[in-house]
Amino acid sequence: MLKFIKSIKEVISVKSTSVYLRGVRNGLPVFFGYLAVSFSFGILARGLKLDPAGIVLMSALNFTSAGQFAAIGSIAAGAGYIELALTQLVINLRYCLMSSALSQKISDKAPFFHRLFMAFGNTDEVFALAVSYGGELTPAYFYGLMTAALPGWVSGTALGVISGSILPARLLSALGIALYAMFIAIIIPPARKNRTVAGIVGASMAASFLFSALPVIKNISSGFKIIILTVLISAVAAVFFPVETEEKNEN
């Protein structure tokens, strides 16, 4: 009997190890993308004369691009703690939507405490990879993604702070598109298979473009823009194109 339990345990751990490693592998583009983005973040923050250890710690504990870029400007300008907290709330509120969507993707069998750790790693990119994972999402896969992403973000920041010029500017500029290309690779294949999704992707891009070009509206912060358009377009789509249960299992 004991032998039997032991062998089951082995099977489970082998399975979750391979799932974990698959997460690490799929997360590699994020590692390199983050390295480039956080490298420029490190250079920028150091240019504002912020404390080097504080900058690296910010990347390690916050793990969010837009929020951190906004924060270093405010901190250098001497903004108060409350202002800082409110800015972060607005810019990062989109994570609330992402975590809600993630909550529906996590396997029922996963113990609750995993959610507390997964929450920390739910960045735009990790989220994008996690929701595009076929089938139910296990914590092991998510941790694999985090294992690839977080070191990229933190070490890139540290490199930027220390050096300022390890990577040639040309390469850095080219790497700037890596994360966007990844998003494109995630949304295009489902859009190709499903007309509704294709229409929604096209409409979202068009609306986003209008928001950044129209007078007055273009002054809305990017954080608010993402929230407004996500809620609006997803709600309209949900009313007109409700998802069937069978269809959801497919995705």
Partner: protein, 101 residues
Amino acid sequence: MKTNIYICVAVMAAVTYFIRALPLVAIRGRIKSRFFKSFLHYVPFVTLAVMVFPGVLSSTGGFISALIGFLVAVAVSLLGASLPIVSILSVISVFITELFI
């Protein structure tokens, strides 16, 4: 008032973690409402599409290289390439374009 960067970092981290953790803690089961299920199904596509465009056009050193990188990424994904391949080819196309500009 001079703020302490370590307190700033702690404040930011607390707010950001709270936003990320709240829905994961609050929504434990499967949502039954057809509307909310559909809504959350569409959220990733809309959020990512909004973040990609037009932001991608200012992600590199210049508009033209970014546009080419964007078009390459779309074309290669339409052809069914895997995620790392799309990312790498897009980066290479930007790099090559910028050599000529």
